[in-house]
Symmetry: C2
Subunit: 214 residues, 2 copies
């Protein structure tokens, strides 16, 4: 059983002014999301703005043929930039959002977030900072896809994954990695094997352990 929003809004107390925090408590709805839940799919319209209290959300692009590509993660204290945009202009989404872990989030009605842009300077700052961060991360993603080889992308991916989970043991199948990087399972197996030979990691069943000099 979850307690009231008031216990969770303090995750945001470093960004938000007191009046905004109070308003947030009053307006937001607390939600619990199980790992793996798809919260938003391509083409859906956006009904509420999620502020992440704990856990992590994976944001990815899916093309028409169902191929996927990981864009970035939304972490604690963060929110989704696309949602800001889409909700303010009542457009539908071009991306997919999935809970990477069990997550807790505060859901805000779209209406209030627009009002708050005018009312609370700290909210405006937060929204702008979030948008800029996402832009930067998407640009990073473009750099990877456009200029880097698959082996480098795989290494970046595993590092990021390790950072997100806070562990050097990653519970991942080769297929899952391939999906996130928009490539084939065999390619990933091949590259992982090479990394194992180079003593960068160890491969187990559905599990990868990163070694010290990864």
């Amino acid at each position: 059983m979850l307690s009231q929003p008031s216990n969770y809004t303090n995750k945001f107390s470093e960004f938000f002014e007191p009046a905004l925090l109070a308003d947030l408590e009053a307006s937001a709805m607390l939600m619990e999301i199980k790992s793996g839940t798809t919260m938003l799919n391509v083409g859906q319209s956006i009904k509420a703005l999620p502020l992440l209290v704990s856990g992590a959300i994976k944001v990815s692009r899916m093309n028409e043929e169902g191929q996927e590509l990981l864009l970035y993660y939304v972490k604690e204290g963060e929110s989704c930039a696309m949602t800001f945009n889409c909700s303010m202009l009542s457009q539908s989404s071009v991306i997919k959002g999935t809970a990477e872990e069990d997550s807790i989030l505060l859901c805000l009605p779209v209406k209030v977030m627009d009002e708050w842009m005018v009312k609370y300077p700290s909210w405006k700052r937060y929204v702008m900072a979030t948008i800029l961060n996402r832009f930067t991360e998407i640009i990073k993603c473009i750099d990877e896809v456009a200029f880097k080889n698959m082996d480098q992308r795989l290494v970046s991916y595993l590092k990021e994954k390790s950072k997100i989970t806070g562990s050097t043991v990653l519970n991942l199948t080769h297929q899952q990695i391939g999906d996130d990087l928009g490539t084939n399972r065999v390619v990933i197996s091949r590259l992982l094997k090479k990394l194992e030979n180079d003593k960068k990691l160890l491969i187990y069943n559905k599990q990868i352990k990163l070694l010290k000099d990864f």
Copy 2:
């Protein structure tokens, strides 16, 4: 010799409320930019917000090794989303902006654009719409780079170029195209030749003519 801003702000009269237009006239500085001028480079800080009256700006990503990749164009009546973000948070740019044609733009001090977010609903809408459009275009760019082959990317590129210039005759060298798509000149020559054989276009020196069934 350029006339006063007042003659140019009407490009924006469809988006902006009258009071904002008046304020724009008072605050903006009119600038003329020659084709090929680099207006913003990676690592630079942003001093002013450009609103494009006429012409077109090419926005691209450059990586550390100097490889380039075209992201999108800013056209008449539009502005640059990254600039909004960076200027509001006083961050430096991660992208490059170059005048694609001779262009005229209104330059706004960073300070006022922040105030206007609160003051003018139509400004807030414009900013948000711009940001969303850019997001969408960058996602499109990711789709291309991640999922499409070079021949498909080349076709998209030429179509876009034709739309921007409003002509089916494009004054481009193969090298320039290669730079925009982040690839090698020889690759472009090869693919163009194939398109010429397929009767999609004609190749001249420093010039390409798109045919009807392109």
